[in-house]
C-alpha cells in the first residue's frame, strides 16, 4: 500500500471516528453537571450491597466482568514481557560468585556500576519508606470496599514498596526477596482465584461474578460480599505480576551481560 493510499484510508477512518465521537459525547451529561443518571443508579446499587466505596462496587460487583478483563490484560502483558526478556542465545547470567566487574565498595552492589552506591540520605529514606509503603499497600487492599483503594492500587503500592530496596542500594536483599516466593505461581493463583470466585456464583445458580456472599454490616471490614475477596485476589495477582515484571527488567540491566570476552 502506497503512502498516499494509507493517508486516504487514515483520513476516512479518522473523519468517521471524529463525527461519531462528537455525536456520542454530545449526548453525555455536561462536564460538572449536577444530574448523573448512571452515577446515581450505581451508588444506589452499591448501597444495596453494603459497599461504601461505590467505585469498588462498580469495579468488582456491578461490572466485575470488565475488571476480570483488565486483570488478564496485566497477566498477558507480564507473560509477554517474560517471553521477550527470556535468556537469549549469546547472553548468560553471571553467577553470584564472580563479582569481578564492580569496584565493590561494601554496598554489596553485585552488578551495579562502580561507585554507584546511593547517598546515605537516599538509603535511609528507602529503608524508612519500605515498611510504611507496604503497610499502606496492605491497607489499600484490605479496605478497598470501604475507602478509596482496592486490589489494583494496593498491589502496585506493595510491589513499589519492595522495590524501595533497590533505591536503598540493597540489590542483594531485593534479589533474595524476589526469588524466595514463587511470584509466577502466586500470580496464577490470584488471577485464577478471581475466576474461581466468579464461577462459584454459578454453583448457587446466580450469574458469573455476581455478589452471592452475605453482605454483612455496613462499614465492617468483612462485609460487601465478594468485593473484598475479589480485591484480595486482584491484589495478589497485581503484586506478583509487578514483581515479575520489574524483576525481569532489573535482571536485564543488572545481571545479564552479553557473552563476550570483556577484559
Amino acid at each position: 500500500m502506497s503512502t498516499r493510499t494509507r493517508l486516504v484510508v487514515f483520513a476516512v477512518g479518522a473523519l468517521v471516528l471524529a463525527v461519531a465521537y462528537v455525536a456520542a459525547a454530545d449526548l453525555l451529561p455536561g462536564f460538572g453537571a449536577t444530574s448523573h443518571p448512571y452515577g446515581s443508579r450505581a451508588v444506589n446499587a452499591a448501597v444495596n450491597h453494603r459497599t461504601p466505596n461505590s467505585i469498588s462496587s462498580v469495579s468488582f460487583d456491578q461490572r466485575g466482568f470488565d475488571t476480570l478483563g483488565e486483570e488478564f490484560i496485566l497477566v498477558l502483558s507480564v507473560v509477554g514481557t517474560m517471553l521477550l526478556l527470556r535468556e537469549a542465545p549469546g547472553e548468560e547470567e553471571e553467577d553470584a560468585g564472580s563479582g569481578d566487574d564492580t569496584g565493590d565498595d561494601g554496598a554489596g552492589g553485585q552488578g551495579r556500576p562502580p561507585g554507584a552506591s546511593p547517598p546515605d540520605a537516599v538509603r535511609l529514606a528507602g529503608y524508612l519508606m519500605l515498611p510504611l509503603t507496604c503497610l499502606v499497600g496492605g491497607y489499600l487492599v484490605a479496605h478497598g470496599h470501604l475507602s478509596p483503594g482496592g486490589g489494583f492500587q494496593g498491589g502496585v503500592a506493595l510491589a513499589t514498596g519492595v522495590h524501595l530496596l533497590y533505591l536503598a542500594g540493597d540489590y542483594q536483599a531485593l534479589d533474595r526477596f524476589r526469588t524466595l516466593p514463587p511470584f509466577e505461581v502466586a500470580e496464577a493463583v490470584g488471577a485464577g482465584g478471581f475466576v474461581a470466585v466468579g464461577a462459584a456464583a454459578l454453583l448457587v445458580g446466580a450469574a458469573f461474578l455476581s455478589n452471592v456472599l452475605p453482605k454483612g454490616t455496613w462499614l465492617a471490614l468483612v462485609s460487601a460480599g465478594t468485593v473484598p475477596v475479589l480485591n484480595v485476589a486482584a491484589g495478589v495477582a497485581v503484586v506478583s505480576g509487578l514483581m515479575v515484571l520489574l524483576g525481569e527488567f532489573l535482571e536485564q540491566t543488572l545481571v545479564v551481560r552479553e557473552e563476550e570476552g570483556s577484559p
Binding site: N53, G150, V156, L246, E260
Partner: protein
C-alpha cells in the same frame, strides 16, 4: 472550584508539553513522573480519589521506573558497542 479545575488542566498540559520537549531520556523519565503527579492532582480536584491513587502509583512510580531501567540498559549496551 471550576477555576481550580481549569488551573490544574493547564498544569497537566504544561507538564505534558515539558515531557515531550525534554529530549534526554533519563531526564525525560523524571519529567514523566512529574506528569503522573500533575495528573494525580487533577483526579483529586475532580474528587476521584480511587483514580488519583492509580494515577499516582502507576504514572509517577512504576512507569518512570520501567523507563529508567530500560534507558540504562540501552546506554550500557551502547557503551559496550563503543568499547569494541
Amino acid at each position: 472550584m471550576t477555576l481550580l479545575v481549569d488551573l490544574v488542566l493547564v498544569l497537566v498540559g504544561a507538564v505534558g508539553t515539558a515531557v515531550v520537549l525534554q529530549r534526554e531520556a533519563t531526564a525525560q523519565a523524571l519529567v514523566l513522573a512529574e506528569f503522573g503527579l500533575a495528573f494525580t492532582v487533577l483526579a483529586l480536584v475532580l474528587q476521584a480519589p480511587d483514580v488519583a491513587l492509580s494515577l499516582f502509583l502507576v504514572g509517577s512510580t512504576v512507569v518512570p521506573l520501567l523507563v529508567l531501567v530500560a534507558v540504562s540498559k540501552r546506554q550500557e549496551s551502547n557503551q559496550q558497542e563503543a568499547q569494541k
